[in-house]
Every structure is written in C-alpha cells, then in structure tokens.
C-alpha cells in the first residue's frame, strides 16, 4: 500500500509540474496562455465568442448582458417578474426598443463580486453593471468613459455632486444609480419616558445612554453599533467624521491613523464596553439592529432613510424621529451618504461599437425615465440620483424633501481611490481586532503603513 501513496504523491507532482509548464509564458501557447489573454484586453480577438455574441454578429439585434444587484424584496419581481404594473422592466424595455435585447440578471449582494470578478477573469464581463465600487474596474481599463454612451441630456440630469464621486483622472467612469442617506433615528416615546433630550454631542449621547440603561434596567439598548464585515466601514465613517477625522486628509491622501480617528473609534468602543450598545457588534448586522429598533428594544441608532418603511414592514409601531448624527464637542458631524453606480464595460469583440454604445444609451435613457425610475427608487425607499425624478418623488412622499436636503450635505466614502477596498476591509479588521482587545492605534498605524508603502 505504500506504493499507492507514493503513486498518489507522484500524481500530485505531475499535476503541479504540468501546471508550472503551462504557466510559462510561451508566446505560441494555446488560447488560455496568460500572456495572450492579457494582451487580448487591448486588441480585438474574437476568440471564444459566446453564443449570444455570435447571434449578434449575424443579425442586427444587440444583446446587452446586465447585472443588477438585489436591493429589496421587490427588485427581482420588478426587473424580471410582474412587479412593474403587471409587466417587468425587461419586457417593457424590449418592446419599446426593438433591436436591443436584455439578458438581465438580478444577483444578490453576497454573490455579486464573485460573479462579476469571475466573468472578468474570463473576458466575459457584463455590458452593464450596477454595483457600489468602480475604481478597480476603471483602473484595469475595463470601463468605458460615461461620455461615450450616455446621452447629453441624461448626463446633465444627474446631481453634479454625485457625478463627482465617480471621477478618476478627470474622466467620469460611472453614473449614480441611487443613493441613501443616513441619520440618527430615535424612539421618541422612549426618550420622553426616560425624560432626556435628543443627544447632539458624544458626551450627551453617553448621558442619555446611561439614563436609558438605568431606567429600563438594561432591557433596552440605548445605542446601536454595527461593526460587521459588511458594514464596519460605516461605523468608521460615523465616528471619525464626527470628530473631524476621516479616511483621507485634506489633500485626499489616506490618513486612517490620525489622532481624531483613534479618538473617534475609541469613543465607539467605549460605548460598547459600557454596555450602551447591542452586545455583539462584530456579528449583529444592520438587519438585527433595525429589528431591535422596530421591536422597541433599541432607543437610538444610525440608519438609512429606509428605516421607517422597514419598521412598518416588520409590523413595528414605533414613534420615531430623525436627528443629526452626534459629533464630538466642538466638531460638526456630517451625514453619511451611500451611493451605488451603473457602469458600462468595454467589449472589443462587439462588431459595431457605435450601435452597442447607442444601445447602452437607450438602456440608461429608459432606466432613468421618470416613468420607470421613480417607481424603482421609491419601491425600495431609496433616494434618487437625477433631478427629473425629484418632483414626482416629493409629490408622492413629502418626507423625501427633508432627505434630499440631508443628501445634499452628505459625505461619501472615497470609493474613487484605488485602495478603497483595502482601506474598507482594513478599518473593519482594525475595529474588530479592537473589539477583541487589541489597541486601535496600533491597528490603524499598521494599516496606514501598508497604505503608504
């Protein structure tokens, strides 16, 4: 039987040797050789044309591969089912735009990076992608500048401050899809019963939290903190921006380990340590926090503008109001905006680039047409990214206006910087390390060092 093991090991060796051999950059190698694949980015090889593309070439029809992220329970139905007044986005688009077919996919946020990255690795990127990040795709030369496909009138319709968030080297690489703004929500009845005012500074936040803990014998969490792997960067933003710090300095360079940042995060950690927050901030997601708020187990939290809808859906009956996110004494906090984007990928194998660009333009026109866009944005309670939608949205829900004001003063994540992913995961890891007892200063120093290398 030893022989068998020896053979097993040698089989392994064979496999690895074969791999090494094929990994050598031989210019005359087969189709999968890495060198050629890298080169094929720039040139225009029509290799591995997929079935749809073959169909495209033969007829006049253009098929666009579209990936949309799953925002809410209705997203899938709206795009593909019958959630758009009995029809759906794809059917309506195709009937209004003959000659353009959509292969539209609604992918959950959990899987979307996997799906997109794998397709990119195989030169099979979607034509249109709706996602939050864009810098990596732009830096790898995969995206088309917006000016190449976006009609002028539509382009001018976007909020200029939003467009700015998608600029790298003076080129706009993506257009905003929708946004949400975050503010502090509090349970009005609860604060009244305890007899405290709405906190505006960190010190007041601590006082109010202590009062709530005392009054309810710890049955109610005064404050919610989410430092999970999906959302921890938001916590970083809340507490560093509220202390005059942030991800970047005034020159736009990474500065994650400033004294302001350390103080801010230490404040948040202090709240957790004193028992003012939900007990497991590293694994309790935004859903959990919102659920606690909806059930009257949490008095205050920072949440997106959809919270009232969420609470209503969950059958909660909370008398809630919003206020500015508390900041440190003498500092001004800023509300936090989160924006997602729509971008178009290059496809050098497309037979008629102009027609393709035009088709993408048609898609955008259709998508942002108030008739469709207003339904999409309001369905899941988001905030719009175009001026033309504002009027209809305000008409349908007066509370929108206040949120639009908040949105106008929002700060956004520096997602246009190339290292954003690393920073995002880095600050989350630092927070979580600190939660298990590490020194936040040391952790942030480490991250900063990595970034300036």
């Amino acid at each position: 039987m030893k022989k068998f093991i020896a053979l097993l090991l040698s089989a392994v060796m064979m496999v690895s040797l074969a791999a090494c051999a094929s990994s050598a950059p031989a210019p005359a190698a087969s189709e999968e050789a890495p060198a050629e694949e890298a080169a094929s980015e720039e040139e225009a090889p029509a290799e591995e044309a997929s079935a749809e593309e073959a169909a495209e070439a033969s007829g006049d029809e253009i098929t666009l591969d579209v990936i949309i992220c799953q925002y809410g329970p209705n997203t899938n139905e709206w795009f593909l089912g019958s959630g758009m007044d009995g029809t759906n986005f794809v059917d309506k688009f195709e009937s209004e735009n003959p000659g353009v077919k959509l292969n539209l996919e609604v992918v959950s946020w959990n899987d979307v990076y996997t799906v997109v990255d794998t397709r990119i690795a195989n030169n099979n990127a979607p034509d249109i992608l709706n996602i939050d990040v864009f810098a990596n795709y732009a830096n790898d030369g995969l995206l088309m500048p917006v000016s190449e496909y976006c009609p002028e009138d539509l382009y001018n319709d976007f909020f200029p401050s939003f467009i700015e968030q998608s600029v790298i080297d003076d080129t706009v690489w993506a257009v905003p899809d929708l946004a949400s703004a975050r503010a502090m929500f509090y349970n009005v009845d609860m604060l009244e019963e305890v007899g405290v005012e709405v906190p505006t500074t960190w010190a007041e936040l601590e006082d109010v939290s202590q009062a709530i803990i005392d009054y309810y014998d710890g049955e109610v969490y005064p404050w919610g903190i989410d430092m999970t792997t999906d959302e921890g960067q938001a916590a970083f933003a809340y507490y560093t921006w509220g202390n005059g710090g942030g991800f970047v300095d005034e020159n736009g360079d990474w500065a994650v380990n400033t004294p302001e940042n350390v103080e801010g995060i230490e404040f948040a950690l202090g709240l957790i340590e004193k028992g003012f927050t939900n007990p497991n901030p590293a694994t309790e997601t935004r859903y959990d926090l919102q659920d606690m708020f909806a059930a009257g187990k949490m008095a205050m939290l920072i949440a997106p503008n959809q919270l009232p809808t969420y609470v209503a859906d969950k059958g909660g009956d909370i008398n809630m109001a919003t206020a500015a996110i508390p900041a440190n004494e003498g500092k001004t906090g800023s509300s936090v905006g989160v924006m997602d984007r729509v971008m178009a990928f290059k496809d050098d194998s497309a037979p008629d680039q102009e027609a393709r660009n035009e088709a993408i333009g048609k898609f955008l026109k259709f998508f942002y047409d108030p008739e469709n866009y207003v339904g999409w944005v309001s369905m899941e309670g988001f905030l719009p990214a175009v001026n033309s939608a504002v009027e209809a949205l305000v008409a349908s829900d007066p509370s929108f206006e206040a949120w639009l004001d908040v949105l106008a003063s929002c700060k956004f994540y520096p997602a246009a910087k190339a290292e954003w992913d690393q920073v995002k995961q880095g600050v989350i890891a630092a927070e979580q390390e600190a939660l298990t007892g590490a020194d936040i200063q040391a952790e942030l120093d480490k991250l900063q060092e990595e970034l300036t290398q």
Partner: protein, 291 residues
C-alpha cells in the same frame, strides 16, 4: 476469463474523461493562476514566479487562519466520525420505527449548507433566536441567553453545525459497510462467547474499516474545503478570528481583492491536504498490515 489488455481502460474511459475535463482542467488553471499576476478586479496578467506565495505566507492572519483550520478539521471530522459511527451501529439494529429514524437522520444532509447555516444562525440569535424562544417558553431558562457572546463561542457553534451536517455522511458510509457484514460472523462470535465490545472490536471494526477509511479521507477533504457554514455565520468576524482557510481566501479574493495571494493560498491548502490525506492513509494501512 479472457480479457484483452485494453478492456479495463475502456471501462475507465468515461470516468477519466469526466474527471479530467471538468475537474483537472480547472485545477491546472488554478496552478497557472497562482504564478500569475491578477489585478484587483480579476484581470489575469503575466508570470510573476513565486511572488503570490511569498505574499500569501506573509499575510498577517495566516497563522490564525491555519490554527482555526486545524481545529475546524480535527473537531468536525473527529467528532462526526465518532458520533456518526455510534448512530450507524444503533441504526443497524432492528427496532420498530427504524425507517423513520433513518429518514430523520439523513435530514441534515438533505439541506444545503447555506440554509443549514442560516437556520442555525437564526436559532442562536440572542434577540429573537428560536432557541431562546423555546427554552424560555418551556421554562428551562428564565432570561434570554447570549449564545454567541465571544468569537471563541461562535467558532464552537460553527464547529457544531459542521459536525451536525457531517454526521449523516459518516453514518450512511458506515451503514453501507455494516450491511456487507455476513451475520453468520456475529453468530460464530456469539457461540465463541464474545461480548458486545469484543464483537465490535474483532468483527465490526475490521470489516467496516475500508469504508470508514475512504469516508474519513474524503471527509477531511470536504470539511477542509467547506465554505458556507463559516461564511454565512460570521464571515470570519471578528478580524479573521473565526475564518478557516477556505473562507479566508474567499474574503481575500473578493473583499480585500488580493486575488494573487488568495490563489496561492488555495494551492498551499491543496498541498497540505495531499500531505494529510497521504499521512492518514499510510497510518491506517500500516496498522492494517500489522494486524
């Protein structure tokens, strides 16, 4: 019997083609990728030698993750094998309701890991978890318990779910092995005056061993590569302290976008598995030869 020299290969051919095309080919690509530069968004660049491997080993969480992976594999494979074996012995007895018991025991396997992990995640929630609900309403506890108060405990829960879903695999492997034991062997042993333990040691174990060996080797591989449980329950939080190798390299690849080191890490994991599986098989077979 007359068999031509080619005949065995003809019998093997479909299987060889299937595995070679659909498994070995992607594996070769992974090996190649581990020596290539890969951009953050996944664009594959040129050959960069062992750089990815160097980066992978220098990752700060490398040691933590390796330790976790070790405990994950050892506890899940070890405990599920022991418990699964006991259950198989019980289920091999004739008793009223055996068919129902068998159908129940296959359940954890019949649901995808993502769902199993989601359900347990929901069950052990502090705030609205079903476990607290049931225990409170049955009067077993009088205050809700925070079932996941530290990351060590969360990791134990992940191992529990891992064991829970792995037991049916072991049970049914052992059961199929037990079925092939001739009952007359037991009768002979009983006549010889052998008790329960002696029959277990001298009849059952040796005869079940082949199927147990294979199932354990495969189990080690499957558990090592198991992804959804840890990913669904904690995503490795806090700070990779509950990550196993496979979830860590996933996070590395798709969250931190260090795709090169992630690929190298997957090859390192493969090599570790090869060594472990070989060591295990050598160990088992040496014992067998000695026996």
């Amino acid at each position: 019997m007359n068999r031509t020299k080619w005949e065995p290969y003809v019998w093997l051919l479909p299987s060889i083609i299937l595995v070679a095309v659909f498994v070995i080919f992607p594996i070769l690509i992974v090996f190649r990728l581990s020596f290539s530069e890969i951009s953050k968004s996944g664009v594959i660049g040129g050959f960069i030698g062992f750089q990815n491997y160097v980066d992978a080993i220098n990752l700060p969480a490398f040691t933590t993750v390796m330790k976790n992976t070790f405990w994950w594999v050892v506890s899940v494979v070890g405990l599920s094998t022991v418990i699964g074996f006991i259950i198989a012995l019980v289920l091999n007895q004739a008793f009223p309701g055996r068919k129902i018991a068998r159908s129940i025991l296959i359940l954890p396997w019949a649901t995808s890991l993502v769902i199993q992990a989601s359900v347990w995640n929901y069950i052990i929630k502090y705030e609205y978890g079903n476990l607290n609900n049931i225990l409170l309403n049955l009067g077993i506890i009088s205050r809700a318990i925070n079932w996941r108060s530290s990351y060590q405990i969360e990791f134990v829960w992940e191992c529990f779910v891992g064991i829970f879903v792995t037991i049916p695999f072991v049970t049914f492997c052992v059961l199929s092995g037990l079925q092939s034991i001739d009952p007359s062997l037991y009768e002979a042993a009983t006549v010889d005056g052998a008790g329960f333990w002696s029959k277990l040691k001298n009849v059952t174990l040796p005869l079940v061993k082949p199927s147990l060996t294979v199932s354990t080797v495969l189990n080690i591989i499957y558990v090592f590569n198991s992804f959804p449980i840890v990913y669904t329950m904690t995503k490795g939080a806090p700070a990779n302290k509950t990550d196993t190798m496979i979830t860590y390299l996933y996070m590395l690849s798709f969250y931190e976008r260090k795709k090169g080191p992630a690929t190298a890490l997957s090859v390192i994991g493969f090599l570790i598995l090869c060594v472990c599986a070989s060591v295990y098989m050598i160990g088992v077979m040496r014992n067998e030869e000695a026996a």
